[in-house]
């Protein structure tokens, strides 16, 4: 074996080899054509590179649309350079010298993977291959039965080949695999019988049940997270994320150490509680209002696009009608010109046809002008409406934020009052309660405490202002983007249409011109 291995010059995939491989797999007649024209590597969907002593995979990045790749019977040692072949459905790497499964993460469409006769000792790095149906990893160095559990994540796996691995010597091998992969239909080229499955399930119930439980839990967790994420996403599009609850309020106090200290002052606890409930209720209002406004905005946008779509469809139909009319009228025109009895007749007919084409061009362009004008107006209306919606939203948000600020100010005043009275009491040593040392530190003189209170007030106001500006800027951005998109879409559409018309007319002209050459010769 080693001698054989040594005697052969290892190869690397290069253009020449690829070209040859492509040519080989073409039928003869097409091959000739292909040779003459050259082949676009993007069009190749299947490639066979077996028995070529390839040592290293390379130069395959151009085959973007490849669905089937055979690299069997080479001396490849490492799976690499396959990242760009994302459409791959079938990958054959059997009879190579691969030791580690890797580099397959981007091949998410892979259904059939063969790693037969390699040197792999662990099943790993395949989490993204969720479409996998057939997996062949026979004649490798797999030793532990528990490796099979990894394969449970492939919900579509129906055929598995594990023969020739050391783990197959285990007496329980078949039952273990069948028990852990209950959806398997073929194992090691044999149909899994129902009786085997029953026996296996019974035998390994204790092992598989906790696994199943775990998986179910994980799935539930995932779903929950996704649902939450989705909810948050929804709130974000409505610009009111984290406003349903005390999140903003908590964040206002989160970094404020002074406030925490002040909370120990007598009576502040209650005050804080009352402040909190009020603030949260205002936030809640804002949140609900935000969601409502969001629905309104969405409805407005979808209304607009519906109207736009209606207009466009009507326009498209009209244009189509004009073209169909023209085509029906001129179905036989070219033939007539072509086979006209005399040059004059052909010429006159040609002129006629030319005139007709011109008219068609005119008609289509007029139609386009019309719809462009109409749509411009439509979009202007839309812009206006969007602006109105946005400004009312902003106004109301501002109002609610002012409510928040008022609450904050009131709280601030009351806090000030309390702290001053406490200070006075403290000065007079009339305090009933024991206060923590750092709180006592604040109660040394009026300036200190007022400063502390003012500082924390400032922080809170800042938080509110930031949240407000977030909402406002998001709203402005939304307004701009929606309007911009509508305008841009219209511009693109208009350009596309004009180009289409021009091209179509050109095409007709060209056809006519081509005929002209033949006309007189007959």
């Amino acid at each position: 074996m080693s001698q054989l291995y040594n005697s052969i010059e290892p190869n690397i995939i290069d253009d020449e080899m690829v070209q040859k491989a492509i040519e080989e797999q073409c039928p003869e007649d097409i091959g000739k054509l292909a040779k003459r024209e050259g082949i676009n590597l993007k069009d190749v969907t299947e490639l066979q590179l077996g028995f070529r002593n390839i040592l290293q995979i390379d130069n395959l990045w151009q085959f973007e649309n490849l669905t089937k790749l055979q690299l069997d019977n080479n001396i490849i040692e490492k799976i690499e350079a396959l990242e760009s072949l994302v459409h791959l459905v079938w990958l054959d790497l059997s009879f190579n010298n691969i030791e580690v499964i890797e580099g397959l993460d981007t091949l998410v469409k892979l259904q059939d993977l063969s790693l037969y006769n390699n040197r792999i000792s662990k099943i790993e790095h395949m989490d993204t291959l969720q479409e996998l149906q057939i997996f062949s990893i026979g004649k490798n160095n797999l030793t532990t039965l528990e490796d099979v559990i990894y394969l449970r994540r492939f919900k579509n796996l129906r055929t598995l080949n594990l023969t020739g691995n050391p783990l197959c010597h285990d007496e329980q091998y078949t039952l273990f695999v069948v028990a852990h992969l209950p959806d398997l239909v073929y194992l090691d080229f044999k149909l899994v019988s129902d009786t085997t499955r029953e026996v296996a399930v019974l035998k390994y119930q204790d092992l598989t049940e906790p696994l199943e439980h775990e998986e179910a839990q994980a799935l539930a967790q995932l779903e929950e997270n996704q649902a939450k994420q989705k909810e948050l996403e929804y709130h974000k599009t409505a610009f009111v994320e984290y406003l349903n609850g005390s999140f903003l309020f908590d964040s206002m106090f989160a970094e404020d150490t002074e406030a925490a200290k002040l909370a120990y002052l007598p009576g502040v606890g209650n005050l804080l509680q009352a402040y909190r409930t009020e603030f949260v209720s205002v936030c809640e209002n804002l949140f609900n209002y935000g969601l409502k406004e969001y629905e309104k905005r969405e409805a407005e946008v979808s209304d607009f696009y519906e109207g736009l779509h209606e207009a466009l469809t009507a326009n498209q139909q009209e244009g189509r009608k004009i073209i169909l009319d023209f085509e029906n009228r001129n179905k036989r025109r070219l033939d007539e010109i072509h086979s006209a009895s005399s040059y004059d007749i052909a010429e006159s007919k040609r002129a006629e046809y030319k005139e007709d084409i011109l008219q068609l061009s005119e008609a289509l362009m007029t139609l386009e002008m019309l719809i462009a004008d109409q749509l411009e107006e439509l979009i202007k209306d839309f812009k206006g409406n969007i602006a109105v919606i946005a400004s009312t939203f902003i106004e109301n948000v501002k109002g609610m934020m002012t409510q928040c600020r008022d609450l904050e100010n009131r709280y601030h005043e009351k806090l000030l009052e309390i702290s001053i009275t406490t200070l006075e009491k403290s000065v007079k040593n009339q305090l009933d309660e024991d206060l923590p040392a750092d709180v006592r530190m604040l109660l040394v003189d009026k300036n200190t405490i007022v400063n502390a209170i003012n500082a924390s007030h400032g922080i809170r106001l800042l938080k509110i202002a930031k949240r407000e500006s977030d909402i406002l800027s998001n709203t402005y951005r939304w307004q701009a983007s929606v309007t911009e998109k509508a305008f841009q879409n219209e511009i693109d559409r208009n350009r596309d249409r004009v180009r289409e018309i021009v091209q179509y007319i050109d095409n007709l002209q060209e056809e006519l011109d081509n005929i002209e050459i033949l006309g007189p010769t007959e």
Binding site: E306, G307, G319, I323, L364, Q374, R493, R497
Partner: protein
């Protein structure tokens, strides 16, 4: 009611006789008319009800039970009070005589019965059955109720009756089926009373009302493009509108004149309007999920709303329980009547109840009674609730045999005339071709010019359901039920000749190719498909003239087929492909060797991509090497200017198309063949109509019955054979020997002897047993005698009787035993001899015993 009363009063003033005369005359006329209309073919026009045989009827028909007598008494009393209270109203219809001349109360004439046919579980089935099964007879006098009311059984037997007979029968069936139904005695229009439907549109011709589709599109969008500026002259438009209005006005005038003509057709006013007595059925809401109270006209079997203007008034209603008199005013027909029978002011009840009105009767009780009804001992339970309970019906159970039920109308045929239409009905299997219904539509009121004939069939093996022949266009359309051999659904044609105009519709779900419709005429064929995987929905083929262009078309298939000129296929959008790779239409111009492909429109585009292939005519010149040249294909790619699509792809596409063209040609030939096949099959089916018979219909399904009987016979034969086999008298002895096949003479003799001795033992045993019994009986007798002798004096007369009977019994037994013993002694030797003889002849032993 007032209106009626007033009218009556007017007429009553001395002109009663005259009125009666008029009515008699009228009735005669009506009789004639109705006879013509109903088309009772060559029947005895006046069926003599007095000649019917009443001798076979049960006694309940002929005499009144005491309870019935009491009921009649109560009824008379009620009538007296009623006439006293309402002297103006007509006498009530309470107890007419039945066919045996006995007065019976009307409620007892109703015999609630549930018949064992699923159709008759619903009111419409019952109503149409009654209207079909019975032949209508007009009332003797159209303005008075009949003097007699026969039992439903008699009516069923003779299959004819007046409106009261109809109603009673229908009511019996409806109550039996669980409906809250009542017979109604009232007044109706002439058309209703005389079963004159010539002014009505045939219900089969009534078009289903189109539900206006609105609300969907109404949502106006504020984003609507403004219409382009209108550059038309307003003045011109005005002028045009004026002109249009003028012509319209002229048209209207014309129409009005026409309307006048049609109005003449309407009948003149009926002089007896509002006086014509009629009986019908009222079904109250509540039971059997009837949502609303309605009438059923028993003559037609149609339901009518209680506000129907044809029903002009109600005198009284009754069911099997009670009798109610209407006390409401009928000046406005039945429109304002309230059908709350528990309302004592509106409805005067005859047998008043103390506790609960009928409508509140619990369902459970009702059902119990229903089941009791058949066994004649009904209504014992509810009795506590009522002061006087209605006696059970005197009528025998209503029975309809399956054959009668199937045959429906007398002689299995019925004709109904509608406005400009004639409807004929037949019993199934009566006509050899399965015809059950025929509707002839006429252009005029006199029914002379046939417009259209529709025929309905049943039980046909070819699943033909209906045939529509339009006499004006000569177009025939046949509709098939699912299950025809070729999935045929409808077939429209002028003649069954091939290559003429045909439209065939198919049950596309039943076909592999999803073919829904195929339209063919002399040189075109269009096929419509539904739900195909390749999104094909239309295939259109054009054919050339036969014979002339044969050299162009493929001659090898068959010379007779028409050359194909063009095949066009249209596809729906396949959303999995991009629009400009998804073919919308492809045209194979076979004679010109070109293929046109048109692709689907891309989103928002108005021009479709196109490809035109011109097959290489010079391909053969260079041997068989086909070279693709850019001239062979003209491409227009919408929305992209780059045209340099590789020839390779075009070549592949062309190759594929050529292949498909070949297949398509074959497909077309197949379609043609299928059309021919269908036409042939249809012709065969039409010439030899076969009717299917359900395997459960043993009466008709002769084959099935024969099969069944044959099976039964063979079963019986087998059983007999088995029995014979079982009784092999030699078996036990042969088993003793062991191997049966070979037997020595000695063995055979032993078998014989064993057998004979066995029989001897048996016979002796038997004799012994009899002897023992005999002796025992004698002994018993002796003992008895002895006992009697001893206690002779102390015995009572009774005991003595006992003893005597006992003695005689024992004596009898002794006698019998003696006889048997005797006979046994006589027959034993005979039996022995017979067995010996039999053994000698037994094939298993014969060869050995024969020599002996």
């Amino acid at each position: 009611m007032e209106v009626l009363e007033e009218k009556e009063e007017e007429e009553q003033t001395g002109e009663e006789l005259k009125a009666l005369e008029i009515s008699d005359n009228l009735q005669d006329v009506e009789m004639k008319v109705s006879m013509e209309q109903v088309c009772v073919p060559s029947d005895v026009p006046d069926f003599d009800w007095s000649s019917i045989d009443t001798s076979q009827l049960p006694s309940s028909y002929k005499i009144n039970s005491p309870k019935e007598k009491k009921l009649l008494h109560i009824a008379d009393h009620f009538l007296q009070q009623y006439t006293h209270l309402c002297p103006d109203r007509k006498p009530l219809f309470l107890h007419p005589v039945n066919e045996c001349g006995v007065e019976k109360f009307v409620s007892t004439t109703i015999r609630p019965t549930l018949l064992p046919y699923t159709e008759l579980y619903h009111w419409d089935g019952c109503a149409s059955f009654v209207s079909d099964y019975l032949t209508m007879e007009p009332l003797k006098s159209p303005i008075t109720p009949p003097s007699s009311l026969y039992s439903p059984t008699t009516i069923l037997k003779y299959q004819k009756g007046n409106c009261f007979d109809f109603s009673v029968l229908l009511c019996s069936m409806l109550i039996g089926a669980g409906y809250d139904a009542y017979c109604v005695h009232g007044y109706a229009t002439h058309e209703i009373c005389s079963l004159d439907e010539t002014l009505k549109l045939c219900p089969l011709l009534r078009k289903p009302q189109e539900v206006p589709k609105e609300g969907m599109k109404k949502k106006s969008n504020k984003y609507r493009v403004k219409p382009p500026p209108d550059l038309q002259s307003k003045f011109e438009l005005q002028q045009e509108a004026k002109k249009a209005a003028e012509t319209e006005a002229a048209q209207k005038n014309k129409e009005r004149e026409e309307e006048k003509v049609t109005e003449v057709e309407k009948p003149k006013r009926d002089p007896l309007y509002g006086l014509r007595v009629h009986a019908w059925v009222l079904v109250l809401s509540g039971k059997r999920e009837v949502p609303e109270t309605f009438f059923i006209n028993p003559f037609t079997g149609n339901s009518h709303s209680t506000r129907d203007e044809h029903f002009l008034g109600i005198e009284s209603v009754w069911n099997h329980r009670n009798y109610w008199v209407n006390m409401q005013d009928c000046w406005n027909g039945c429109k304002d009547l309230v059908f709350d029978l528990s309302d004592a002011i509106r409805w005067e009840i005859m047998l008043s109840r103390i506790k609960k009105p009928l409508q509140l009767l619990s369902d459970a009780e009702e059902e119990k009674e229903l089941s009791d009804r058949d066994t004649d001992d009904m209504q014992e339970k509810g009795e506590e609730d009522m002061s006087f309970d209605m006696p059970p019906s005197w009528v025998a159970p209503i029975q309809i045999s399956p054959r009668e039920f199937e045959t429906r109308c007398s002689q299995g045929r019925k004709v109904i005339l509608y406005k400009k239409a004639k409807l004929e009905k037949w019993a199934p299997y009566l006509n050899g071709n399965g015809l059950v219904k025929r509707l002839t539509v006429y252009a005029d009121l006199d029914c002379t010019e046939v417009v259209e004939v529709r025929e309905w069939f049943r039980n046909r093996e070819d699943m033909l359901d209906m045939r529509e022949v339009n006499k004006q266009t000569q177009l025939t359309t046949e509709y098939f039920s699912p299950g025809h051999l070729l999935g045929l659904k409808a077939h429209t044609y002028m003649s069954l000749e091939p290559e003429t105009e045909h439209t065939m519709e198919f049950y596309n779900e039943a076909r592999v190719d999803g073919l829904q419709k195929r339209v063919e005429n002399d040189n075109k064929m269009t096929e419509y498909f539904v739900g195909r995987d390749d999104f094909l929905h239309v295939r259109h083929m054009e054919f050339g003239k036969r014979g002339k262009k044969i050299h162009l078309a493929s001659t090898r298939t068959d010379i007779n087929s028409r050359p194909i000129v063009q095949i066009k296929e249209c596809f729906h959008r396949n959303l999995e492909k991009p629009a400009d790779e998804d073919v919308a239409e492809r045209i194979f111009l076979i004679t010109e060797e070109t293929i046109h492909l048109t692709y689907h429109l891309k989103d928002k585009y108005i021009t479709a991509s196109k490809k035109d292939f011109f097959k290489a005519a010079d391909g053969d010149r260079k041997g068989n090497e086909i070279v693709m040249t850019p001239e062979m294909c003209i491409t227009y790619q919408a929305g992209s200017s780059e045209k340099d699509k590789k020839l390779l792809h075009l070549y592949k596409a062309l190759q594929q198309l050529t292949e498909e063209e070949k297949q398509l040609k074959q497909q077309v030939r197949q379609s043609e063949a299928e059309v021919l096949n269908i036409l042939k099959i249809r012709e065969n089916e039409e010439t030899a109509v076969k009717l299917t018979v359900s395997i459960y219909n043993t009466e008709r399904n002769k084959k099935r019955r024969q099969q069944y009987e044959a099976m039964k016979n063979t079963m019986e034969d087998e059983l007999l054979g088995q029995e014979e086999q079982d009784l092999d008298y030699l078996a036990p002895f042969l088993i003793q020997i062991g191997h049966r096949k070979k037997m020595t003479k000695g063995q055979a003799l032993r078998v014989r002897d064993d057998c004979l001795t066995d029989l001897k033992h048996r016979l002796i045993d038997k004799a012994n047993i009899i002897q023992a019994r005999f002796e025992k009986a004698v002994e018993e007798l002796q003992k008895k005698n002895q006992w009697f002798q001893e206690n002779h004096n102390q015995l009572s007369a009774e005991e003595e009787d006992d003893f005597l009977t006992c003695c005689s019994e024992i004596a009898f037994r002794i006698h019998i035993l003696a006889l048997r013993l005797n006979r046994e002694k006589q027959t034993a030797p005979q039996k022995y001899l017979a067995l010996e003889e039999k053994l000698r002849k037994d094939p298993r032993l014969a060869e050995y015993l024969g020599h002996a």
